[in-house]
Structures are given as C-alpha cells and as structure tokens.
C-alpha cells in the first residue's frame, strides 16, 4: 500500500532525510480537517449505499420472475392481479419505483421471505449472530497468528520465515474454501472424530440455551451450560479455523510488506547504531508504526470474511447469513436474496469505509495533507 509522501504546506518537496513537519496546523485547524474528512467519508458511504440499492433494485426489477405472481400466486384472477400490481407501484416509472424502493429499504422494510413467511429483516437479524460468531473467531485467530508471523517474515526478508509466509499466502489464494471445508470435515470429523460435525450444535442440544445475544458461546457461558459451551465450540472450531486461515494468509502478507517498508527507514538504522537489539528495534520502533495500516487491513479482512462465510456456511450447514442467502437462492426467494445481499453489502461497505477513514485520521502524515 503506497503512502503519499507528505508535503509541507508551502508546497515544496521534502528533501531526503529532512524531518517531516507534522504540526504546522493549529489544533483547531486540524479538528476542522478531521471534521471535513468525516463529512467526505459519510458522503462516500451514502453514495456507495445508494449505488448498492440501485443494483439490488435493478436485479429485483429485471429478473425473469414476475414480482406480482410471486405475491398473489399462479391462480389469482385478473382483478386481483391488477390490484396487486397497482398496489406494488409497478405501473409507475422506473425512477419513481426506485425511490419507493429506497424509502422502503430505509424504513427497514425488505419485504417478506417466501421461505420463512417472516419479514426478511427479522430473518437476517436472527441469522446474523451465527455469522458474527464465526467471522469474529476467525479474525481473532487470524490476527493473533498472522501479525507475529508477518512481523517475523518481514524481519527475516529472503530467509525461510519469509518464504513460509509466501507459501501460506499462495495456498490461501489458490484453495477453494468450500473444498477445504469438505476435506477438513472428512479428516477431522469423519476419520479422527476430533470435532463436531455440521451445524452449530449436536441435535440433542438444540433449544436448551435461550438466545440472549444469539452468540452461542456467550449465551451458554452466561447460563452456566458448560456442556453446551463445549459442544458449540467443537462445532465452531473447524469452520472458524478454515476462515481464520484465509484471514491469516492476508494479514501475514500485508504485515510482512509493512514491516519491510519500516525496517528500511533511517530511524531503525539509528536505533540499531545506538545499540538497540535487532528485535528490540523491530518490536519497539518499527512495529508501532505499522499498527495504523494494520488496523485497516484487519478491517478489510473482517469485512471479506463476512462475505467469504457464504461458501463455508453452506458446507458446514452453519445457520448464518451466507447460508440464509444460498438457501433462499434455491427456493427462488428473491426478497430474501436481495435483502441479504443488501445487508451483507452494507456491512461490508461500512466496515471498509470506516477502516479507510480511521487510517487517514490516525496517521499524522495523512492528517494534514
């Protein structure tokens, strides 16, 4: 990731080795800059979200399925059909229809699911905790393993830890996640019996823990149901580890390149010359400087896991958003598919934009530019 070279306010180029001037602006001016940036962030977010709704609207409007028939059924007579068509606003012009759709979406109305005959939004809220649990566990593992491994690789450029990270990355970018899930299920559940199978719990444990947060590990721990906690963990660990691998591969690779960039800077050489140990310089001088871009990378990785969970959830019959979307697909339940796409898309866009914004606000070099 390229970081723009900071330029002093008078527009002159910084000479090599010249100290970067950070605080030429008064605190008030800086706050105004952050405020402006926040405004820009919000505007970008709104435009992107409007674009997303335009696409879901477009898909929903032009699918070969007749939206009226989906509501009234095949056997409705002509009068009922016409009435419903008018009630749905399908006689209006396309832009007006889009505005009506936008109004509905903004008021939280994503239509009703044909599959569950409940409002799509309440379905999505019910399915969300399972995905959240999975993606969060995967990201935690990805960060705990990926960051140290990436730092290690960056600090040993050209030696075996560096090659190891490259190989981990290559495998991560080349392996179909759904296939890896199946093979892992075959080995660790089928052959070795180390973990629970598909789903979130064994059949006998269903519905014992009353949902509070929807995150089974938290709910069962709160209610002292440790047997269920263990069972839930044994089901969670395999899909969690598989998603964690992809997160780890990405985080380690990015950490590595940030680290290489920082270690080539003069302040590191200065610290070494003054007698700092190599790993002391790595962890105490270089590492604090890569933390900001790392936050962005972790944010991006988390967002992509929410999306990447679609295939993993399908393989592990994990009742989350991804499985909800694919199940709805098979049932031609377009309201649910588009609602799910919209919600996953909005969360994805939100996290991405926020990590990007955070990056620009926290990094002092970009703050004043």
């Amino acid at each position: 990731m390229a970081v723009a070279v900071p330029t002093p306010p008078d527009g002159s180029k910084l000479e090599e080795g010249q100290a970067t001037q950070f605080s030429t602006l008064s605190p008030g001016q800086r706050a105004a800059g952050t405020f402006k940036r926040f405004g820009l962030f919000l505007a970008t977010l709104v435009i992107t979200f409007v674009g997303l709704t335009a696409i879901t609207f477009f898909i929903g409007r032009f699918i070969p399925v007749d939206p009226v028939l989906a509501v009234v059924g095949d056997h409705a007579n002509h009068d009922v059909y016409e009435k419903t068509r008018l009630a749905m606003g399908l006689d209006r012009s396309i832009p007006v229809q889009y505005l009506l759709y936008l109004k509905k979406v903004l008021s939280g109305d994503l239509g009703e699911s044909v599959m569950t005959s409940k409002p799509v939004l309440s379905d999505l809220l019910a399915f969300f905790p399972a995905t959240f649990e999975l993606a969060t566990l995967a990201t935690i593992i990805g960060v705990l393993v990926g960051v140290p491994v990436g730092v290690w690789a960056g600090a040993s450029k050209g030696r075996w830890p560096d090659h190891l990270v490259r190989v981990i990355g290559l495998f991560g970018y080349s392996t179909p996640v759904f296939w890896m899930g199946l093979v892992a299920l075959f080995i660790f559940y089928g052959k070795l019996g180390w973990v629970g199978g598909t789903g979130r719990l064994d059949v006998g444990y269903d519905d014992i823990v009353s949902p509070v947060t929807g995150v089974l590990l938290i709910d069962s721990a709160m209610q002292g149901q440790w047997e269920i906690f263990r069972n839930a963990l044994s089901h969670l660990i395999l899909p969690g580890l598989i998603l964690a691998y992809f997160s780890l591969a990405y985080i380690a690779r990015m950490t590595r390149s940030f680290m290489i960039e920082q270690l080539s800077q003069e302040y590191v050489t200065a610290a070494l010359v003054k007698g700092r140990s190599f790993w002391g310089a790595v962890w105490h001088h270089a590492f604090p400087n890569i933390m900001v871009p790392l936050i962005t990378v972790i944010g991006l990785s988390y967002a992509s896991l929410l999306e990447g969970a679609v295939l993993t959830e399908t393989v592990f019959a994990w009742p989350g958003l991804g499985r909800y979307i694919t199940q709805s697909l098979f049932n031609a339940d377009m309201n649910a598919v588009l609602g799910g796409t919209l919600v996953v898309g909005a969360v994805f866009i939100g996290i991405n934009a926020f990590s990007d914004f955070l990056y620009k606000v926290v990094d002092p070099r970009l703050r004043n530019s």
């Binding site: 970018y173 080349s174 179909p176 296939w179 890896m180 590595r256 967002a303 295939l311 697909l329 598919v337």
Partner: protein
Amino acid sequence: MSATAQSESLRQWLESDAPQSRRQAVYGNVWRGFLAFVKNPAALAGLIIIGFLIFVAAAAPLLSFGHSPYEQDLTHRLAAPNVTHWFGTDELGRDIFSRVVYGARVTLTIVFLVSVVVAPIGLAVGTLAGFLGGAVDVVLMRITDIFLAFPRLVLALAFAAALGPGIENAVIAISLTAWPPYARIARAETATIAKSDFISAVTLQGASTARILLKHIVPLCLSSVIVRLTLDMAGIILTAAGLGFLGLGAQPPTAEWGAMVSAGREVILDQWWVATVPGIAIFIVSLGFNLLGDGLRDVFDPKSSS
C-alpha cells in the same frame, strides 16, 4: 556460418543497446523480459501448469482413454479409484478422471470469456476517464469506486440468481463485479501517458480522440492490464467454482469442477475421492495462475514487487 555462430549473432542483435529499427527494439524487449522470466522458477512453474491445462483441454478426448465424461454406469457407481477408473466413479457411475480432464475445457472457457469481457470494459472506462478528465473522469471513477466497494461474491451470487444458472450467466455475473480494478489501472496509466510529448505530437497532427485512445494509449495500457488479469485469474476461477458449487454455474451434466465437488459433498465421509479430486484440479490451476501472475508482475513492473 555455423549454427552456434548464427545463434550468437542473433543474441547480440537482440541484446543490442542501440537497436537499429523499431522491430529490433520490440524483439529485444521481449527477449529481455523472457530472460528475466525464465530466471524465476516459480513463474516458470506457473507457466508450465497453465500450458499443461491448455494441453489437457485440447487433448481431452485422447486423454480420457475411451471413457466418456457423460456415460453413466449405475452398476459401478461410487467405485473407488482402480485400474479402469483412475480417480474412481461418481454418484452416477461416470468416470471421474475423464470428467476432470473435460472440466479443463470449462475452466478455460470461463477464463477466456471473463478476460474478453472485463479487459475491454476496464480499458474503455479507464482510458476515457483518464484522457478526457473533468466531469467525465469524476463520474466514471465514482461509478468505478462504487462497484469496487461491493462484496464481489455476494453480488455475483445475486446476479447469477437473477440471470438464472449457467456458464454464460456466471461469466456475466463475475465480469460485472470484476472490471473496476482494470478501469483504475487504465486510468492511472492514461493520465501519465496523456501528458507525453508524443501524444501532443499526434494531437497537433490532427488525430481524433478515438484514434489517440485506440492506437496510442490502449496498447501502452495493455501490459499492466494483462498482468493484473493473470493475477486476478485465480480469484475468478475460485469464484466461478464457488458459483458452480452452489449450483449457479455450469449445469448438469457438464463436467465443471465446482459442481463436481458439490456432487461429492453428500458422500464425503465414505467416498472421499468424488469431492477431493476435482478440488485438487481447481487448486492446481489457481496456483498456476498465481505463480504466473507474480512472475509477470516482477518482470513487467519491478516497482510493485514486494
């Protein structure tokens, strides 16, 4: 002149610092790129894998040794790998080896179709935005940014669901979400190229915008676009396989690797080979494109190699 002396002089001609003609300069560049590329064993391995994929796709009828990828044999369904069926048989008794071999054709088709759709869209949007600038630039790049911000798999899923299952629709769905990075690359390249003296020269000679874009700018953007396309190809193959796995890609009885993995899902605990073998094929081909892409990037764009 002996053969060695001849090849020696050819080498000198290629490696000359002062090419006498445009042709010599072009060939020299290609030759130097080739030398750098061959020095990189990973990239070479990638090239060999892709070459092998193309060979398998072309020679599929020969390589399947008399087995048809579609012929069902219900008395021998789910047979373990053996002498007649090297990779065993699937739930309908079809030979998995020949299905994997024919699957190479499907994968290559998807790779080819996505490339011919995505590259022109990206080039058109990017070069127009970069060359015309102003309001056109702002609008086109804003649209690009919006598409770039979307979750690709979920959106491809929604598109494929709306368009109906099938390879063509999967290609359209993937392309609709895959073009934005190319527009960005093309725009960045165009913005620099447009400032060059030779563009001013052709403008003064009265060349039209279309001519400048097509004859002078697009060819110069092409190498970056191709490198990026190779790097993205693994992701595209994985997305296509994912759509196939969900039943939104190629339809039965087409031998598509993702769909084959999906078919083996039900029997993974007892007949592991049905799902495992096509998955390995997907992995190898993706790996090949990743290795090749990394190598091409190092050769053509030394700046971005990390």
